[in-house]
Symmetry: C2
Subunit: 213 residues, 2 copies
Amino acid sequence: MRAGLTASRPGGRQQHGTNDLGKDTGKGSGPGRRGGYNGFSYADISDAIGIRKASIHHHFPTKAELAAVVVDRYTQQAQRGLKSLSQQVPAPAEQLQAYLGYWQGCILDAFQSFWVCAMLAGEMQMLPEDVASRVRAHFRNLAGWLTSILKAGTEQGKFQFNKLPEEEAQILMASVHGAMLSARALGDPNIFLVIVSPRIARLRAQNGQARPE
Amino acid sequence: MRAGLTASRPGGRQQHGTNDLGKDTGKGSGPGRRGGYNGFSYADISDAIGIRKASIHHHFPTKAELAAVVVDRYTQQAQRGLKSLSQQVPAPAEQLQAYLGYWQGCILDAFQSFWVCAMLAGEMQMLPEDVASRVRAHFRNLAGWLTSILKAGTEQGKFQFNKLPEEEAQILMASVHGAMLSARALGDPNIFLVIVSPRIARLRAQNGQARPE
DNA sequence: GCTTGATTACCTACTAGTAGGTAGGTTCAC
DNA sequence: GTGAACCTACCTACTAGTAGGTAATCAAGC
């Protein structure tokens, strides 16, 4: 089984006159060029995992379904990660720090679950509804987790802020996303911490230590 | 004219039995579905401006060149806008407010220059270098403008912050980008102001008025 | 233990349509 | 008459998706 593969294809689709003027249209060739909803194809996946295109269609009939499952899985993965983080690391401040650490890892590796969802968020208005709704859910989850961390932090007297925890969580989340975007756009990973660190510092600042903003 | 084309192809491709079960593959049909580097095509532009695909190639031989020119133009447009804003509106605080107002307009209209560049920033690692470098330039310009506004504001005693203006500018820029992303992802335009307003308020806060952050 | 029959996973071969891009011709202003 | 702007007609490669087949697995039913 799984013998012939494409190499030994007999009479199928002899292209017009294409003898190896490769052309390199700038797509598909080489890695690191793809991403986002329009940036991948069944063929890409087929190449990557070594299973034929049609077989992928067997499992995920349409691209929208495929993307929805991917985002679903990423969301669940992220949720599990955040949950276990909450359980293993007791201090809210450290949880937040670990969260940021994860994001820092995303700066260079674009295929982390968080970043995939963030990138799709940028394409929101052109996503199939099934995908968009899942990206929305991912953002809600993230905001929810951050809110709970902030609440726990204030209850323990570790954090202090004069907004609603929900609002502060939104601010934090946006800060991280914006910082990622800037770090990538400017090609400078340091930018991430320049932007994000002060936010965290401020949360802890007014906590008796009178740390200057 | 415009006779033959594919319709009159002689021996080619008669399909199984697929008569007009439209299927709607989810692409190309309907507006508002496209964006980003992989999200538009020469054909799209051709349809939009009523000039044939080949003619667009005459002006912009490759897609990378086309995108580079678009980003260039958007960058220049943004720069002109920011410059005239600096000239027409004297107060730094109002300039900042106008800047945010512009972004608010982007929440619903995805084809504003700022947002196009922000979206491309999300795709940074898969952009042709000629495009990526221009997106980088756009971000640098934006940061530069914000820095100058912040400097002017502090010199006039209107703003106060204990970081470098460059850093504060980066924070502000990231805040706006992140806020846009959240507003779009969550489908809630209000989120934008929830995130961004406090930042602006804080800049002015310590300015004698002791406005609670 | 065998044979069924359904289910599953995967395959080859194909489809219509679209992608970016090119060849070569026409039209028109300078 | 030169050159830019624009065109038709075409190209190859790739897109999502389909048709239909093969091999393996597994639960009956005998």
